[in-house]
């Protein structure tokens, strides 16, 4: 019997990690490539999961431990697939590895970040604070190894980090390299991006300071976020006591995203708990079209929030969001469709439930892959041996991504088994 082929997983977020570790634990070798310097993807930016309100790093920790103990998983960060050719059971893939400028000798001591003179917006926190060009995203990042941002680093002319590193871990002359791998199956798990808020003109187009996105809210509430978990409004760092959540910000809208982004209702309900727990006197108002909390646990969670006297639900689409220039408060205008009444209300802060855009809308995967007009992978038309996971096919939550990634793992081993 010939040896089983390897499986390539493109994308190191929760779906990709799940696909990789589940495939490996079925007895197959896996290569996983992640575009950014760290694994974990979107969920590492979340404070808590709905509906259990448990921290995502808990499940990640277990998966990282499974990876460490498996021995059958090859990890590549800063890696992007450049070319795919071949067919089921025999795909040749070219992968470009960008330099980290930090090698395996890094011990995670933070000396490079302390020495680095370059400040840049912290993308992990959606620009809500600054980071150095030598950085690690957070204290449970995996791998726990710093990275030098190639775009912002001043290079060898500066070299302050090199001097600060006692472990010979930083080499600013590292070059990109290309590797070729042969695999039996390929899993596409490149995930999603938040919808670009600047396109939402009537909702402030990202110009109003105290209007933030749901993903920014996750960072604000996270203990490893820009405010150490305190929910403070950006304009004056005061506690946000009176918050509006605007659902379907871009989603279910022919001018933006015609589909429903699945997670936003539960995400906003969850974020209501962040605020209500942190500030017992706070209030929240949710503007929605439909509250979509399918199944048992989600509906139960919704019911619980409905029982909170300080939370109001208003069925109606928001027509306009403006800023009070004096106070920087946010004015929301909407129609309550049940009563037909026009509403104009003032809030400390507004959270836009912006939706999911498949990463493949902007960044197509090289190879013969068909997409829907919104950029989702048209899964039914994929070549045999190539499988798409989770939010590349349709917006889904973490639980369904895990199911799907585990399901795709069996497809991969069918293709990789010789």
């Amino acid at each position: 019997m010939a040896e089983n082929k390897k499986v390539l997983v493109i994308g190191g977020g929760f779906s990709g990690l799940t696909a990789a570790v589940e495939t490996a634990e079925a007895g197959f070798e896996v290569i996983i490539v992640e575009k950014t310097p760290f694994f974990g993807g979107r969920v590492t930016q979340l404070n808590k999961y709905f509906p259990k309100l448990c921290p995502p790093n808990c499940g990640l920790e277990i998966n990282f431990k499974r990876i460490k103990n498996s021995g059958d998983i090859i990890l590549h960060t800063l890696a992007e697939v450049e070319k795919i050719s071949g067919q089921e059971g025999n795909y040749d893939v070219t992968i470009k590895l960008s330099p980290r400028f930090v090698n395996d000798k890094c011990v995670g001591c933070n000396a490079c970040a302390e020495a680095c003179p370059v400040e840049m917006p912290n993308e992990f926190n959606f620009g809500m604070n600054k980071t150095r060009a030598a950085y690690i995203t957070h204290n449970q990042a995996f791998p726990f190894k710093y990275v030098i941002d190639g775009k912002n680093c001043k290079g060898t002319s500066c070299s302050k980090c090199v001097a600060a590193c006692k472990y010979d871990a930083i080499h600013l002359d590292m070059k990109a390299e290309t590797i070729n791998v042969n695999v039996g199956a390929i899993v596409l798990a490149t995930g999603w991006e938040p919808y670009d808020v600047t396109k939402l003109d009537i909702l402030g187009a990202g110009q109003i300071k105290n209007v933030i996105t749901n993903m920014q809210m996750e960072r604000l509430a996270s203990p490893n976020g820009p405010t150490d978990g305190k929910i403070l409004r950006p304009s004056d760092s005061k506690p946000a006591m009176n918050i509006a959540f605007v659902q379907c910000a871009g989603s279910r809208d022919e001018n933006h995203l015609p589909y429903c982004s699945y997670i936003c209702c539960m995400a906003s309900l969850k974020q209501v708990t962040y605020v209500r727990e942190q500030y017992p006197d706070s209030t929240a108002r949710i503007f929605y079209i439909d509250i979509r909390t399918p199944g048992t646990r989600y509906e139960q969670f919704y019911r619980k929030i409905q029982g909170d006297q300080n939370v109001t639900f208003t069925k109606g689409k928001v027509a306009r969001i403006t800023e009070d220039p004096a106070t920087k408060d946010v004015i929301v205008e909407a129609e309550d469709v049940m009563s037909g009444k026009k509403i104009k209300a003032r809030f400390d802060m507004v959270v836009l439930a912006t939706g999911m855009v498949p990463s493949t809308r902007a960044a197509k995967i090289p190879g013969d892959i068909a997409y829907t007009p919104e950029g989702f992978v048209a899964a039914a038309s994929l070549n045999k041996g190539i499988y798409a996971v989770g939010s590349l096919k349709s917006p889904v939550d973490v639980a369904r991504s895990v199911q799907d990634a585990t399901g795709v793992a069996i497809k991969s081993i069918q293709s990789a088994r010789r």
């Binding site: 079925a26 499940g59 920790e61 011990v107 048992t296 399901g407 793992a409």
Partner: protein, 741 residues
């Protein structure tokens, strides 16, 4: 194995600046009884030169390696010595990064940790997997509906033998009763033909699949790899051996006779299931008079999202009613469909189907609270509703009403019966007897011959669904080797059921592959250790059989516990439960941890506190606190454990009798929304701890000396203070009176 020790101390990352390494080496040699020449230091142990030093010793026969450096969570590739016992002593995060440098206290912490690391290896052994004989890799799929068929085909296509059991005479389940399916692909405008028939054909022709129709499971005995399943087909029985299960027993529609308030009972008020049957036959003909229905009203959430009926949402009914509205419209161009909903729930791309239907002028939709369905004469009905988009109170005439009824998992009736039985049993033998005689026993599904009960336990408050509580791990049941899929687990659409079935199939495959290697399944999927009880000392107290979260321990005829190793998840709960301390793993035992505790320094002056920390969450949180450079109280000694459930009370009593002033159990949240990855670990530890505190009080030791704290991996900011507060409380109470005895 003859042990040859090597102790390696790293001086990098601030360890050398915080600790006197020469002293550390000396005291370790003495305290841990290690030859001085076996203790080495290096400036940067994880560097190539440092690793070479260790590897040279390994070549010379060193096989017990104590690495005094950073946390075991990092540098795992570097400090990997196959075939050797390796213990990582966390001198960086738990000492150098969290203690004042160069103090007596800090030195003492480092010495204790290093000694404890050595003791752990002195007492432990290399794991050797236990592989049971005559293992089967056949996968049994329970349920021949869409989900079960998908699971069977996926497993079979991956090369595994499958036995598919269906209790009905035909395969297909509810999926075969559908006229059409909701669109699955872009642009979501055309209804699809039911997919299940193709799957039936494929399964029937598949060489790896054996199909047993009209068959139920009479009994399931054994364990993963070695399940003996007794099947009954039309009165005859047969026992087959299988390796693992996919449980896809499916669902039943909610009993519509309970929906009299929505007009059920009137022949022209039908359920969504009946609607499929009608559509399958041709025109939408209403039952009362065979007239073609032209004004069809759909009532969403009929008996759902309703505390008097099903409190939950069945997830697919909105799309189903939209689909059935399309039947109405396609079969008769002048027909009208009216949908009364609470919220339209068409998440993801299903929204595009909703949009397509909204664009059909013959489909009317309104949010509404339906208050009644009443007879309008001529077989027609009035739908009366409040709070609608069309007005506060409306009354609309329809010639057919379709109730979007929800689903009830097949596991619910057995679960309710068993819950009732358990409650009756608590009341005594008489009540139990009355219950058994007076209650109709529902159809059981698996009939497990397990001490902990015959079915998959469902979680409290989740309506009998056999679901996983873990968002990250969707296939976690409390019965190892039995994986659920489809609507028995959660209400779900067919698209979701297909991927769920494939996922469950993968887990079933992993299970048979892992038992063949003698290693655990999730979450310790690499672990080759197993509980090895010294049965000669067992008193048959049965605490282990009661407490094992996974039902891994049965009893033989004499009532003696019988460990079914392949059901074991290696959490160590049995080890924690056993009052005789007879359960051990090769690298984790009552003796190992007990010896670590016995070997730590207990000062005459000052305080000593032990923290037993869950290695999955509490320990990484401590590491993260260290990365943030918080200070940890130098009175504490942290010992990671597999799960708090493995905490044996003898550790606590021994520690207290040695003069240790207090103990913290640092574990995961339990109860509702529990986060323990072994389900019950921290809860059981808390239960045992509660008992212990009574004993302490009797011994005139303050109960406050022991505390269980529930923490999450993200609690690193709070943890140092929680520990400080505990130490402060101990200081208030004063030193342990047993100190010095």
């Amino acid at each position: 194995m003859e042990k040859k020790f090597g102790v390696y101390i790293c001086k990098g990352c601030g360890i050398g600046e915080a600790v006197n390494i020469d002293e550390l080496k000396k005291t370790t040699a003495g305290g841990a009884k290690i030859a001085a020449e076996a203790i080495r230091e290096h400036e940067i142990l994880c560097s190539p030169a440092g690793l070479e030093m260790i590897n040279n010793d390994v070549k010379e026969g060193t096989n017990c390696i104590v690495v005094g450096a950073c946390s075991p969570r990092v540098k795992f590739e570097e400090f990997d010595f196959p075939g050797a016992l390796t213990e990582r002593v966390n001198l960086r995060e738990l000492v150098a990064w969290t203690m004042e440098p160069n103090t007596e206290d800090t030195q003492s912490v480092a010495e204790d940790y290093l000694k404890m690391g050595v003791v752990k290896l002195q007492r432990g052994d290399l794991p050797e997997p236990k592989i049971l004989e005559d293992l089967s890799s056949t996968i049994m799929v329970v349920g021949g509906g869409f989900t079960g068929l998908t699971a069977a085909l996926e497993s079979a296509n991956a090369g595994y033998k499958v036995i598919l059991v269906e209790k009905e005479a035909e395969l297909g389940g509810w999926g075969a009763k559908l006229y059409k399916e909701t669109p699955r692909t872009y642009p979501y405008d055309k209804l699809d033909d039911p997919a299940v028939f193709g799957k039936i054909k494929e399964a029937e022709a598949h060489e790896n699949i054996r199909i047993c129709k009209s068959t139920v499971i009479e009994k399931t005995d054994g364990q993963p790899g070695l399940f003996d399943v007794t099947l009954r087909t039309n009165g005859s029985t047969e026992t087959v051996k299988v390796g693992s299960f996919i449980m896809a027993a499916g669902w039943k529609p909610y009993d519509a006779t309970k929906l009299g308030h929505l007009g059920y009972g009137n022949p022209n008020v039908i359920t969504n299931v009946q609607m499929e049957e009608i559509a399958k036959k041709g025109k939408i003909i209403r039952p009362s008079d065979g007239k073609e229905a032209k004004n069809v009203a759909f009532i969403q959430c009929a008996g759902q999202r309703d505390m008097n009926h099903l409190p939950y949402c069945s997830a697919f009914c909105c799309a189903t009613s939209l689909k059935q509205a399309k039947y109405v419209r396609e079969k008769s161009s002048d027909a009208v469909a009216m949908i009364f909903y609470k919220d339209i729930r068409t998440p993801g791309q299903t929204e595009l189907f909703y949009k397509n239907m909204q664009n059909d002028p013959g489909v009317l939709l309104t949010k509404a609270d339906v208050t009644g369905i009443t007879d309008a004469g001529n077989g027609n009905l009035y739908v009366e509703a409040e709070n609608t988009l069309l007005g506060e109170k409306i009354k609309v005439e329809a010639d057919l009403v379709v109730l979007a009824t929800g689903i009830v998992p097949a596991t619910r009736a057995p679960q309710e019966y068993l819950d009732g039985l358990a409650a009756a049993t608590l009341k005594g033998d008489e009540a139990k007897k009355n219950y058994i005689e007076g209650t109709e026993k529902p159809e059981f599904i698996l009939n497990l011959a397990y001490k902990q009960g015959p079915e998959l336990p469902s979680e409290d408050g989740y309506y009998g669904f056999a679901d996983s509580s873990f968002i990250c791990f969707q296939y976690e049941t409390r019965r190892t080797g039995i994986y659920t899929a489809g609507c028995v687990k959660q209400p779900m659409t067919m698209v979701d059921a297909a991927s769920d079935a494939a996922g469950a199939a993968l887990k079933a495959i992993q299970c048979v592959e892992h038992v063949a290697k003698g290693i655990a399944v999730h979450p310790r999927a690499w672990d080759a250790t197993f509980p090895d009880p010294m049965m000669i000392k067992c008193t048959s107290c049965k605490r282990c059989t009661d407490e094992c979260p996974f039902g891994a321990i049965d009893e033989d005829e004499k009532g003696t516990p019988f460990f079914k190793i392949n059901r074991c998840r290696r959490c160590g709960t049995c080890m924690g439960a056993c009052p005789e301390r007879i359960v051990s793993f090769k690298d984790f035992s009552v003796d190992i941890v007990g010896s670590m505790i016995k070997n730590m320094d207990v000062p005459d002056e000052g305080y000593r506190i032990i923290v037993l920390a869950c290695e999955n969450d509490a320990y990484p949180a401590l590491d993260s606190a260290a990365i943030k450079k918080y200070k940890l109280n130098p009175s504490v000694r942290i010992i990671p454990v597999r799960c708090l459930g493995s905490t044996n009370l003898v550790w606590v009593t021994d520690a207290l009798s040695r003069g240790i002033d207090g103990l913290i159990l640092l574990g995961c949240k339990y109860g509702e929304n529990y986060q323990c990855h072994f389900v019950k670990g921290s809860e059981l530890a808390s239960y045992r701890f509660g008992k212990l505190q009574e004993t302490l009080t009797k011994l005139q030791l303050e109960a406050d000396r022991c505390q269980l704290m529930q923490v999450a991996i993200s609690d690193y900011d709070a943890l140092p203070k929680m520990i400080d507060d505990f130490v402060a409380r101990i200081e208030e109470i004063g030193p342990n009176p047993f100190k010095g005895f």
